[in-house]
């Protein structure tokens, strides 16, 4: 519903502004390093004003949503695990821009951004983080277990989501509907054995699986040099072709994704993308993020490579948008996040009576044992 009012505003903005702005502009993007590929994605791309404004809004929404989560966590309204992705917005928004809603996506625990780009509202995401009944998983899952249509979470066990993603790709091939599955993992997870098992089977069976390593340089507090004998993550698929992408440039991510998706859809089998990106926060809310990296490094990335800043500068300098209208979007986003946070804070917790629900799917109700034999919960599917 928020989308529709945004579209109306957008339409009026375009009407008013269409005379002063360019409809689109062409940009040069970084060439991707290639592994077992003759050609890579194009080095220029066209960005329309409409797309640009949408990407800007989405990235800003993810950014502010994550910062709001940080705030709520420090107020102890969010508890447990909370892994934030501010700095990595070009990845989730860029990937989504390169695929269709009917394609599939699975990732690990740094998942709030993807949950949003795959279609859930900030409201239901924040309410899930605060553990309320209005959360997208009814408060049963929390930060790492959010699901949406064609979005399979949110997975807490490092690396386990990769075979899952290959399995979703198997289903895509089985059903023959020309869909692909984006299967994400981090630089830390890249050393998991089960990922290599998944590479092998995906290549053997030519599964339409795009393996994506979101390399933010640190697995918790361990830098890539200290964890991997080879930090060329885009080559680690060995027999699987790969490309290394500037993950701070949303247009680079989009073009690479389009390229990878076309590759998979043509039936050639899996492909691997390494997105070089960066997280501003520590690994999680319990990590200040400065014991294993310097503040200077964080500051340098922020000032030179911030994905939102990069897009904004491009759009303003090519007359695709004005500084003022982008500021307006900022204001609207802030309001959306504020409203969502209000809801997430005020919404009640799930009712205790529902503790036992959703053990089994499609089953008649049964009883679940509580902390002792006299405490019983009803379980509804």
């Amino acid at each position: 519903m928020e989308e529709k009012s945004w579209e109306r505003q957008q339409a009026s903005r375009v009407l008013v502004a269409s005379r002063s702005f360019a409809n689109d502009a062409t940009f040069e993007i970084k060439k991707c390093d290639l592994h077992r590929l003759e050609e890579g994605p194009p080095v220029t791309t066209v960005l329309t004003r409409e797309d640009g404004l949408r990407y800007y809004r989405m990235m800003q929404t993810v950014r502010r949503m994550e910062l709001k989560a940080d705030q709520l966590y420090k107020q102890k309204i969010i508890r447990g695990f909370c892994h934030l992705c501010d700095g990595q917005e070009a990845c989730c928004v860029g990937l989504e821009a390169g695929i269709n809603p009917t394609d599939h996506l699975i990732t690990a625990y740094r998942a709030h951004g993807f949950t949003f780009t795959r279609g859930l509202s900030v409201r239901e995401i924040l309410a899930e983080l605060t553990g309320r009944r209005g959360g997208c998983a009814k408060g049963k899952g929390g930060s790492m277990h959010m699901y949406a249509k064609n979005f399979y979470g949110g997975n807490g066990i490092v690396g386990a989501q990769v075979p899952l993603g290959a399995g979703i790709a198997l289903a895509c091939k089985y059903f023959g509907k020309d869909e692909v599955c984006l299967t994400l993992y981090g630089d830390g997870a890249a050393n998991q054995g089960q990922i290599f098992e998944a590479y092998n089977m995906a290549a053997l069976w030519k599964l339409p699986c795009i393996f994506i390593c979101e390399n933010n340089r640190y697995g918790m507090g361990t830098s890539v040099e200290r964890a991997a004998a080879s930090t060329d993550y885009y080559k680690r698929g060995d027999f699987i072709p790969g490309l290394r992408v500037d993950g701070m440039d949303i247009l680079c991510v989009r073009e690479a994704t389009r390229f990878a998706a076309a590759y998979c859809r043509s039936g050639k089998g899996p492909i691997l993308m390494e997105l070089q990106t960066y997280r501003y926060h520590g690994h999680s809310m319990s990590d200040p993020g400065v014991s294993y990296r310097t503040r200077e490094e964080i500051q340098e990335v922020r000032s030179k490579s911030d994905p939102i800043m990069l897009l904004k500068d491009r759009m303003v300098n090519s007359n695709l948008a004005s500084v003022e209208e982008l500021k307006e979007i900022d204001v609207e986003v802030r309001k959306e996040i504020e409203d969502a946070a209000q809801f997430a804070t005020a919404d009640p917790e799930p009712p205790l009576e529902e503790l036992g629900h959703h053990i089994y799917s499609s089953d008649p109700p049964f009883e679940v044992r509580g902390a002792n034999q006299w405490i019983k919960f009803k379980s509804i599917s």
């Binding site: 066990i157 386990a160 075979p163 289903a171 098992e197």
Partner: protein, 357 residues
């Protein structure tokens, strides 16, 4: 390779029927557990295109234990998939396929190898429907031989009933005879939840009567319901999988001494049908549990705990007793192995002890 058709005469002879009697529906036929599982899978593969089988050697080898014989020839590469030796990987792939709308049967060559993939079974399959608040079901079957075989030693003989039975979100079944095997595999495949089917290698070749009901393509054994294999009045003997046969043997021996055992075949480990066991204990006042797995934290331990907590406790005339595998990694030498699994004599001894005879 159709099973012999005919009738069991009152003197025990098996009289084979000639096959030109097309209007004659045999009252029962003999089917091995292996054939029963094969039939069950075949029928479900035919019934629903979303069902497929994957695992090591399931296709061109016809199955490591020949359980999937003929299926690859009939259904081809798309539906019967040979995997590399990558349990964690292919179990995860199977779970992902289930999340995306398929209905995979994931075979572990033995459940010992499932330990490598157990994270995918528990964390990716069992818990997901709950964690997602009811959004993401995982309709998957994990099947394969479980527990002791013969002479395969410690790493290939573990029983996983207690390990999988521990986890909410999973269903765990343990067939004993052919009807159990066919009916439970079909129910498992049709179930929209992750179901672990613990088969038994030593049972694969054992033939059992198959009623005309069991011969039907819609024959199902419900998950979560135990079966009373033998009525009795003096003591309740509860078991699952191969030991059910040993319990029936013990019951036959004891019957000659005037002791009538009620033998219950659990069929399902989780959700456990404790009500059937309780009702029986209320009647017989005595309980012995029999399982192949280790004693500590096992299936029998759970039954005893629940009996204590429920109405049947006040009807016990003696403490409930467990018969289990020996509390050791399975040894190889025959004499040692034989004494590491519950034998008929051990069951008889436990029953007599409980009855104070």
């Amino acid at each position: 390779m159709s099973p012999p058709r005919g009738s069991l005469e009152s003197d025990g002879r098996f009289e084979e029927t000639s096959l030109d009697a097309s209007s004659f529906t045999p009252l029962f036929i003999l089917v091995t557990v292996r054939e029963a599982i094969n039939q069950g899978m075949d029928e479900e593969l035919e019934r629903d295109e979303k069902v497929f089988l994957l695992g090591e050697e399931v296709a061109q080898y016809d199955g490591a234990y020949k359980v999937s014989r003929g299926l690859w020839k009939k259904y081809g590469d798309k539906r019967i998939i040979d995997t590399p030796i990558s349990e964690m990987g292919f179990a995860g792939i199977a779970v992902g396929a289930a999340m995306a709308g398929l209905r995979p049967i994931c075979e572990f060559m033995t459940f010992n190898f499932s330990m490598q993939a157990i994270d995918q079974v528990i964390n990716s399959a069992a818990k997901t429907y709950y964690m997602s608040g009811g959004l993401q079901p995982v309709p998957i079957v994990f099947r394969g031989p479980n527990g002791a075989s013969a002479g395969v030693a410690a790493q290939h003989s573990q029983c996983f009933a207690a390990w999988y039975g521990h986890c909410p979100g999973l269903k765990v079944v343990s067939p004993w005879n052919s009807e159990d095997a066919k009916g439970l595999i079909k129910s498992a495949i049709r179930d929209n939840n992750p179901v672990v089917v613990l088969e038994n290698e030593l049972m694969y070749g054992v033939p059992f009567e198959f009623s005309s009901e069991a011969q039907s393509k819609d024959f199902l054994v419900p998950i979560g319901k135990a079966k009373i294999e033998r009525q009795g009045t003096h003591i309740t003997v509860v078991s699952h999988s191969r030991p059910v046969g040993h319990c029936l043997e013990a019951a036959t021996v004891l019957s000659k001494e005037g002791i009538e055992c009620e033998v219950i075949n659990m069929r399902t480990i989780r959700p456990m049908d404790i009500e059937t066991i309780e009702a029986s204990v209320v009647k017989t006042n005595h309980l012995v549990t029999v399982e192949g797995g280790w004693p500590q934290f096992g299936v029998g331990a759970e039954i005893c705990a629940r009996i204590m907590e429920g109405p049947a406790f006040n009807f016990l005339d003696a403490p409930a007793v467990r018969v289990t595998g020996a509390d050791v990694p399975m040894p190889y030498a025959k004499i040692l192995e034989d004494n590491s699994v519950p034998q008929v004599k051990d069951i008889i001894f436990a029953i007599k002890k409980t009855l104070n005879i």
